[in-house]
Every structure is written in structure tokens, then in C-alpha cells.
Subunit: 329 residues, 2 copies
DNA sequence: CCCATTTTTGCAAGCGCGTGCAATTTTGCA
DNA sequence: TGCAAAATTGCACGCGCTTGCAAAAATGGG
């Protein structure tokens, strides 16, 4: 591909190569007349600047790394998919990087990232801000989790888990639900604090009571297992709260099909995320909604500021709202 | 990042920059002693070749485009996710490109692909082989759908839909299922032929009979709508075959929760893909399994041949098997 | 119409690396 | 040990583009 170079365009347009370069560079100094000649020639020749060459020359890069985990869950692949789309539409080049349990910090990244990044979007608990910062030559990385310290130069997209949790607890409290089981996120994950600990705090504020809990890994299967363990240890509570929808669905299926329980009559199960399946009538899962689109929007807003307007604020923070979706009540 | 260049390594190792370049190039001519010195210096300095610069210089590229559709379904984001992972592990740079309904052929791609590609993997019906071929400088594109002509230089991964369909029809036929509804893929999609037409052919071979059919778009919702339309037009058949699992689940939920039917007692519903949800007890969906992993393996096998061993065969073809998974019988 | 500003333009030096070629070193064998 | 062949090395040019700088052209005010 890309057989035609700026030189050829320059020759055809009767100008220098610099002129060509400048007409394709935002706010560079070119007269309208020259630009027009160049554009015409470029069109005729089918010229498009070679991004590789230009990033080499300019020392910049329009590559945005999307750092995610290699084990897919129900939500992240969609997040990545939409981010990809949105970045691409901005003319940036998304570059998805998966890290797994062998992740060894910056060293691992160095093996993968063989080129300078404009910035990175990190959606992987294992990855620390400090691992990524050195690779980002234009803007600080955008952290979707909380693996950063107060003074690191990063942008942050938070999820306001507390509000959704608060909505849920008061909703259930109003309807006389008293006792609770909990399937938490992995203790090492960032969701552990915001969701699971958050729930405990919310329970403390109402007169609902945590009876028992289990740790899950966000997979459907871990929801099944957690329900087995919890129900083997004691009587059913009024409700079960799971740190994501996949686990909630696993728990619900086990409650219904293994234990022959009626959900929500025998036990009320609540998830987190509001994945599409949650609204399907087989589940009708009440859940705390956290919109992928909102998250993408928040990220893109930051990128706009940093990349387009080259904003210089120290740290840009955006918070994505959550809300309780009551289903099947 | 990447402050350290080959020059610095060369100086520290007391060799020329060519030597550095050569030690990092597969099967280049360097003595073991030199390579060792270079490697040592590189390690001390934290040097890693800059892929941007090297692809510019060599005129090659280790970028592999993954061309997919911007509207996510249940399967494709996982395919992309796994491909991403696998390519990354081979040292290639995956670059996901989403096309939507505004896709205008090569012109659209040119706007997005601002750099030479090693090769491309195409999983988007709208994209023709001829649109992509010019961008691939090293190996021909790998087409996952059938948008290529006999003599175009492409590699192909087929799915052997027919076998799974055959297994299913004989299984059902053996159990005395006679009448069938069908929810097809979009008429314009590549799956339309292989799955929907394939089923018709299989039915013709048995004494099962197609009663009615509807066109769907692979979404859960279109499965719901299709069931509504079909059931408004006539009596229930013995079974309903849907061209993917998402539509089958939509149809099943509508059958159960809108029409109060028992599935599979009143009607047997069958999907295609075997997504994880299909095996969940709420659905227990019989389906024709098409493994994402098999597809990824087939693709990677081709990439291995082309990229690593620089194979020169005209067209490499791989076929991914399918098999009928009978659940809840 | 002239000269001081401002704007536009072309030149040329890189960006970091690959690679053909010729020079140099090493190797193998007599 | 000597010499031809083979392997290794360094030089220098170029990949396609950006950009500082100085020269050229356009602009504007008196």
C-alpha cells in the first residue's frame, strides 16, 4: 500500500515537500492557495500521510494503548470494543494490550509496547500507574481503577459505586429486607473496596445485617460456587448481593436449578453492572447499573481535553454515576 | 519513553550501530561474541528496538489489522479479544478496526489505516477482500467470511456449518421432530448462506418440514420479535432453529415469559455458536457449537505459516469444525 | 511607491533503524 | 604457516515525514 509519498505529491503540485507536510498538519503555516494545490494533487494521487513516518519524525504518536486483562469477562470486552471505536473516530490509533497473571509490571509492558504511546487507558487491576506513565509521551495515562497514588500524574475515571449501593440498600430496607449474604470481588481487586466494602458501610447505616460472605472472581462459575458454599453454611437470608451480574446470574441459576428455590420469592439476588442479560426475563436481575457508554464518554472527554486541546491540568477526574435498577419487585 | 537508542547501545558495547541492529534482527549475521556484548549493553541501558523506526526503515510492519464490526454481538468481541492476545504473544501488533454501516470500501479503510499492515484478519461481512488486499504488504488478508472471489489472493478460515447442521437434523429426526420454524441471519450476511440455506438443504434430505421463517439480525431482540411474528402467523412447530444463540435465547424467553410456553416441552429451540450462556441452566440451549478457540487457532496457524515461515502457498485454507450439542433432551 | 512587518516557502538536518556493499576478520585446509 | 573462502563488521544511504531556520513573497502604512 501507500506507494505514493509526500514527495510525489509535492512534485505534482509544484511545491516543496514541506508544503505538503504542512497542509496535512493542523495549524501549520500554509497559504490557502498552496494548500489547495496540494490537496488536489493528493487527491489525484490517492496520497495519505504515513503515520509511522510522521510519528518517527515528530517524536509524537497517536497511539493510545488500551490495557486490559487477557481473561475476558462480560463487561470489559464491550468497554474495549466501544473505546476502540471512539478512539478510531477521533483519528487516534487504539492498541489493545492484554495482561495476564504473569504480569510483571513495567518490564512486561516494555516487551509489548514497542513504540511510544500518546497515552494509555488502563482497565486492569494488576497494572500500576507508575508502570505505564513512562510510556506515555503526550498525556498522562487514564486509570479506570485505583492503582495510583495521590501524586502520580494520571487522569482518573471513577465510578460512583456508593450512590447506587445506597439507593439499593434503602430500597431494600424500605421493603423490610433485613439479612444479607455477600459475594465479593477478589480481595486484590479494586472493585473489592468500592463495591464490597461500600456495601458493608451502607448496611451499617441501615439496620440490615450481613450474615455471611464469600469471595468470587467475577465469573459466572464463581457465583455458582459461592452460592453452594453460603447455603451449606446456614439458612437463607433475605437477599444476596453479588459484586457483578455474572456472579449474580450464576448464584441465581444455582439457587433455582440446584436448590429448587424460587427467586425472588425465597431469596432476592442483586447484581452489579446491568449487563444486557440482566434485563432478560429469565433473570430479571435487579442490579446497580454502571453504563459502559458513560464510562467511554468520560474517557473520551478526558482524551479530548488532553489530546485535542492539549490541556495542562494536573489531574483530570471524571466520575461515572451508578443507579439501582429494581426489577421483578 | 524509549529514550535509549541503538546508537547509545552501540557506543556502550563498543561496536557499530549495525551490530546492534543485527543482534535484534532474526537470522542476521552477527558473531556470538558481538551479540553478547550488545545484549549486555542493551540490558544495562534498558534498550528496546523502536518498532516504529524499524518498520519505517525496513518497509515492513508487524501490524495486523483486526477488522470487525462496530456493533458488538455476543461472540465477536471475544474472538477479537482472543486474537488480540494471541497475536500479541507472537510479537505482532494487533490493530482493531471497526467498520459500521457507513462503510464505503477501501476508501473508508484508507482513512483509518494510516500505516502499512503486515496482514489483516477480516471478520466483517461488509468488507471485501479487494478492499483490504492493497493494505497488506506482507501476507494476504485472512478472510473469516466469504467476501472474496476464487482468484483473489487471500487466506481463508471456513466454518464447517454443514456438519453441525447435519448432526442436528438427524438427531432431531431420530426423535421424531417433524416441523420447523427458522430465524435466519440477515439475508446480506455471509452466515445466511452457510447456516440458513444449509439448514434448508439438510431438512430437504430428511423428512422434516420448514413451516415458516423470519429474518433476524443476530441480536437477542430480533429473536424476540421473530418469535412474536412467527407465532402470530400459525401454530407451533416441533422446533425452532435460530442462526445464533442470542436470537435463540430471545426467542426462548419470549416463548416462555410472553406466551407462557414450556421449552422444550412445547417447542424445542436450537441455537448456533454455543456461547457460554447457552449452557446455563436457565436456557440449557441445544446449539451447534462453533468454538472461538478453534477459530483463533486456525487463524494463528495461518499467521505462523505466513509470517514466521514466510510460506508462499497461493491460498491457505483452514476449516473449523462444528458439532451439535444436545442439551435438555 | 518604498520599506518595515508579517506571512509563506524551501532547504536541509534529522527521527531510529535496516541493509547493500566493501573492507576486515576469522576460518578451514593444505 | 599461507592463502582462499566464508563470516563478520562498519559505513553510509535511505525509509517518509517534521520542523527550525533563513530566504522569499506578501502585506500594509506612510
Amino acid at each position: 500500500m501507500q506507494r505514493v509519498t509526500a514527495d510525489q505529491v509535492a512534485e505534482r503540485a509544484g511545491v516543496s515537500r514541506s508544503a505538503v507536510s504542512r497542509t496535512f498538519t493542523k495549524d501549520a503555516s500554509v497559504s490557502a492557495r498552496t494548500a489547495e494545490k496540494v490537496l488536489k494533487a493528493a487527491r489525484e494521487l490517492g496520497y495519505r500521510p504515513n503515520a509511522i513516518a510522521s510519528s518517527l519524525a515528530s517524536g509524537s504518536s497517536n497511539i493510545v494503548a488500551l490495557i486490559t486483562i487477557s481473561k475476558p469477562d462480560f463487561r470489559r470486552p464491550y468497554l474495549i470494543h466501544h473505546l476502540n471505536n471512539a478512539l478510531q473516530k477521533m483519528g487516534l490509533v487504539p492498541y489493545t494490550i492484554c495482561v495476564d497473571e504473569n504480569y510483571r509490571g513495567a518490564e512486561t509492558l516494555a516487551q509489548i509496547i514497542q513504540m511510544p504511546l500518546n497515552t494509555a487507558i488502563v482497565s486492569a487491576d494488576a497494572v500500576n500507574a507508575s508502570d505505564v506513565i513512562p510510556f506515555c509521551i503526550h498525556s498522562p495515562p487514564i486509570m479506570l481503577n485505583s492503582n495510583f497514588s495521590q501524586d502520580e500524574r494520571v487522569d482518573v475515571v471513577n465510578v460512583d459505586d456508593a450512590t447506587g449501593i445506597q439507593q439499593m440498600t434503602s430500597y431494600l430496607h424500605d421493603r423490610d429486607y433485613k439479612t444479607v449474604w455477600l459475594v465479593t470481588a477478589r480481595r486484590s481487586s479494586s472493585a473489592f473496596h468500592s463495591r464490597s466494602v461500600g456495601l458493608l458501610e451502607a448496611l451499617a447505616r441501615s439496620d440490615m445485617k450481613l450474615i455471611d460472605k464469600e469471595e468470587g472472581d467475577f465469573s459466572y462459575e464463581s457465583g455458582q460456587e459461592a452460592f453452594e458454599k453460603l447455603s451449606s453454611r446456614g439458612p437463607l437470608p433475605d437477599c444476596l448481593f453479588c459484586a457483578n451480574d455474572a456472579m449474580a446470574m450464576g448464584a441465581m441459576d444455582t439457587a433455582r436449578f440446584v436448590h429448587g428455590l424460587s427467586v425472588p420469592q425465597d431469596i432476592r439476588i442483586i447484581g452489579f453492572d446491568d449487563v444486557p442479560q440482566a434485563s432478560w426475563p429469565s433473570y430479571n436481575l435487579s442490579t446497580i447499573k454502571q453504563s459502559v457508554i458513560d464510562t467511554v464518554d468520560a474517557i473520551m472527554e478526558i482524551i479530548q481535553l488532553r489530546v485535542a486541546k492539549s490541556c495542562d491540568e494536573d489531574r483530570i477526574t471524571r466520575t461515572v454515576p451508578t443507579s439501582f435498577i429494581a426489577r421483578d419487585f
